[in-house]
């Protein structure tokens, strides 16, 4: 029987009247990579902050590595590592000085600490930059140091809040490799991301949360089945004279569950009902759209699941710039702080 690394029971976090995390209950098994997906403002970061003892839960309780989140917060902190939304690093210190400072807070003996620092720098291929100030680093270099900083105390559980945000594909892949490697060595990983492919590629299980509640929780495969089964059809359609009015018309059809514009001509539509395809094509013809091709998606992606369970509305529209897609993909590029 596998033990649970994290047990969350009816966890609630309120900011004044606003409920950011709403009665959340879930377990994460030891050795799992657990993905948190959800629109902006869904409460992913807040959940992670509460689980890292950085914010007091309003009600409910959680056990991290077997320790009570509130009553044994010191023991909890000894067992976790955190890669937060903002990078945890001092710009004016060198990579080694940063790592040394945080290492000392974990009471790692001096010699062991130095060895560990070299080892981790090697892991992310940053030995050359050991004695360079962080302010001279690129985002990718910073994030590599930021990730190994969390690994210094050899945590049992690693929390990663959007670890690949703003990184180029090379660094993204190397970070993903590191996540897989440390997971193989027995570390439980809790991961939030807006990159669906990342969640799909890494996670053993995924929870999609919305408005602080779990909207869906399962393995990526099962989640995808959830959408593609029943009478749901997903297909791509190419319209040579695509206009935004036309998109709105299609979107207004009640059989359309999600619609995403992929470029100037291509739409990806997922629809419900037996004659859904016919109705959509009819509508396009009526509006004078000329269809160049229709491609049937054999399999739905996690993105379809995401849009299906969280709806089409964009969250906190004021603070996030919309992606070019007609509906917010959620993975609109946003600048990493620092």
């Amino acid at each position: 029987m596998t033990k649970n690394a994290i047990e969350i029971h009816k966890l609630t976090k309120k900011f004044g009247n606003f409920t950011a995390v709403d009665n959340l209950s879930l377990n994460v098994k030891e050795g799992e990579i657990f993905g948190f997906l959800g629109p902006n403002g869904a409460g992913k970061s807040t959940t992670i902050r509460v689980l890292c003892t950085l914010a007091q839960p309003t009600s409910g309780y959680a056990k991290i590595a077997g320790f009570d989140l509130v009553k044994e917060s010191d023991r909890v902190r000894e067992n976790i590592g955190l890669v937060a939304e903002k990078m945890i690093m001092y710009d004016r210190l060198t990579a080694a000085e940063n790592l040394r400072f945080f290492g000392k807070l974990y009471d790692i003996p001096k010699q062991k600490l130095e060895g560990r620092i070299d080892e981790l720098l090697e892991l992310v291929d940053m030995q050359k930059w050991k004695d360079t100030q962080i302010s001279k680093f690129s985002t990718g270099m910073k994030q590599r140091i930021n990730v190994i900083r969390a690994l210094l105390p050899e945590p049992k559980i690693l929390f990663m809040d959007e670890p690949t945000l703003g990184l180029d594909p090379q660094t993204t892949f190397s970070i993903r490799d590191i996540i897989r490697d440390i997971n193989k060595s027995g570390v439980t990983v809790i991961l939030t991301t807006h990159a669906m492919s990342e969640a799909e590629a890494l996670s053993d299980r995924v929870a999609i949360i919305d408005h602080g509640k779990i909207a869906a929780l399962d393995t990526p495969e099962n989640l995808k089945k959830l959408v593609s089964s029943s009478d749901n059809t997903v297909f791509g359609i190419k319209i040579t004279n695509l206009t935004s009015e036309l998109i709105e018309k299609i979107d207004a059809l009640d059989c359309v569950t999600t619609l995403a514009q992929q470029d100037h001509h291509n739409l990806k539509i997922s629809a419900n009902g037996t004659n859904a395809m016919d109705r959509i094509i009819d509508t396009i013809r009526q509006e004078g759209g000329s269809i160049a091709s229709i491609t049937n998606s054999t399999e739905s992606t996690l993105e379809d699941v995401f849009l299906a369970v969280t709806g089409k509305q964009m969250r906190d529209e004021a603070s996030e710039k919309a992606s070019p897609a007609h509906h917010g993909h959620g993975n609109a590029p946003k600048a990493r702080v620092r």
């Binding site: 902050r49 890292c52 003892t53 950085l54 914010a55 007091q56 010191d74 023991r75 902190r77 000894e78 976790i80 955190l82 937060a84 939304e85 903002k86 990078m87 945890i88 690093m89 001092y90 004016r92 210190l93 000085e97 400072f101 945080f102 000392k104 807070l105 974990y106 009471d107 100030q133 900083r149 105390p153 702080v337 620092r338």
Partner: protein
């Protein structure tokens, strides 16, 4: 969590903060320039104890008799040694008043008609001194100079009269003991000459440390909070107390460096002499910091972000600066200001510092102040630390 771990972590936090400071050239420059600016500013703005010389004064002689000419001659002789005043004659009172209004002279001596006649008739010879008191500072100085000059002249006149009376009655007299039977022998606590800096320097030292720590705490904490680095410390197994102690210790180190600068400038540039025990003085500084650090922590705990934290601190600091008896003696303030100054820790810290540095007071002499400061510190810290903890995990 045990005490050694808390202290060890505090040390790591302090060392980290100081390393960051060392790498920040701007902060380093400000660290050195602030005390320098303060001292030089106050050094030139405030009166330094020496009286202004060559104050322009008018003379209007409406008498033109022998007595008045003698009087003026004597006045000029008296003034020659000190050169406090420069005289300028005017033919009428109106002319002189116009000159005052134009700011050419600070005041005017008006000798009325009949002045000489009064002297020869044995009456008192009155004259008027008209002073421009729109500038209270120089008005006060003129009055001082005037009273010493006139009493010197009266003295000379009296001596001559007494000697004359004595020779008339054939009695040997000592005019000095006749005119001034009482002679005070003034001794001061601080040997030698003192100036305003003696009063200012100890208070300024404690004030700069206070400013350093009080504005530094909200800044240091909210900066890390906003940067996100705080999450790194707080998700590590360390006590929040270590963060407070470490940051305070780093700020204290900064404050101490500034104190040494102040002390050096005060001694070498402004001739302040230190009588007391420097070690005790630095202990007092530390105690002063302990007494007001709680207020800084409260400010940041209640405000949340750097801007409002700094604002609250500034709001609190200004009355403290002026009512703490750093620049003006508290005894010279109106009663309600005095009452307020009694609840400001800086008052006691500055008072104790002055006693230690200037009067060579021992620890027993400033025990009252020490106890009050400790009480201040304990009370504010017991409120501040839980507030801080709560604000950290909001």
């Amino acid at each position: 969590m045990d005490v050694t771990k808390i202290l060890k972590d505090s040390y790591h936090v302090m060392a980290k903060d100081l390393l960051e400071l060392k790498r920040n050239r701007m902060s380093l420059a400000a660290l050195f320039l602030m005390p320098l600016l303060f001292l030089v500013m106050f050094g030139f703005i405030f009166p330094t104890g020496t009286t202004q010389q060559h104050m322009p004064m008018g003379l209007v002689n409406l008498d033109q008799g022998q007595g008045s000419n003698e009087f003026i001659a004597q006045l000029e002789v008296m003034n020659k040694n000190t050169s406090f005043m420069d005289f300028q004659s005017y033919s009428s009172v109106d002319d002189a008043k116009t000159a005052i209004n134009k700011g050419r002279i600070y005041g005017v001596f008006i000798i009325p008609p009949g002045f000489s006649e009064n002297i020869t008739n044995g009456k008192s010879a009155d004259f008027t001194v008209y002073i421009d008191n729109s500038n209270p500072q120089s008005a006060m100085q003129i009055q001082q100079v005037l009273s010493t000059t006139v009493s010197g002249m009266n003295n000379m006149k009296a001596e001559a009269n007494v000697v004359q009376l004595g020779s008339e009655t054939n009695q040997p007299v000592n005019p000095q003991t006749m005119i001034f039977p009482y002679i005070p022998n003034v001794q001061t606590t601080i040997p030698g000459e003192t100036n305003y800096f003696n009063f200012l320097a100890p208070g300024l030292m404690i004030m700069i440390v206070m400013m350093s720590v009080m504005t530094g705490i909200p800044e240091a904490i909210s900066k890390e909070k906003e940067m996100g680095t705080f999450d790194g410390m707080l998700s590590a197994p360390i006590s929040q107390l270590s963060v407070i102690i470490g940051k305070t210790a780093a700020l204290c180190t900064r404050g101490f460096i500034q104190c040494i600068i102040i002390l050096a400038i005060a001694i070498f540039l402004f001739g302040v002499t230190i009588q007391g025990n420097i070690l005790l003085a630095f202990f007092m500084l530390l105690l002063g910091i302990f007494s007001f650090i709680g207020i800084g922590i409260m400010a940041i705990s209640m405000s949340g972000d750097q801007a409002s934290g700094t604002m609250i601190v500034n709001l609190l600091m200004f009355p403290m600066m002026f009512l703490g008896g750093i620049f003006y003696p508290i005894q010279q303030m109106p009663w309600f200001m005095q009452a307020i100054s009694q609840v400001i820790p800086l008052t006691y810290a500055a008072d104790a510092m002055r006693k230690i540095m200037l009067l060579n007071a021992g620890i027993g002499d400033v025990m009252t102040q020490i106890l009050i400061l400790v009480a201040f510190g304990v009370v504010t810290m017991t409120i501040a630390v839980p507030l801080f903890r709560k604000s950290m995990t909001r």
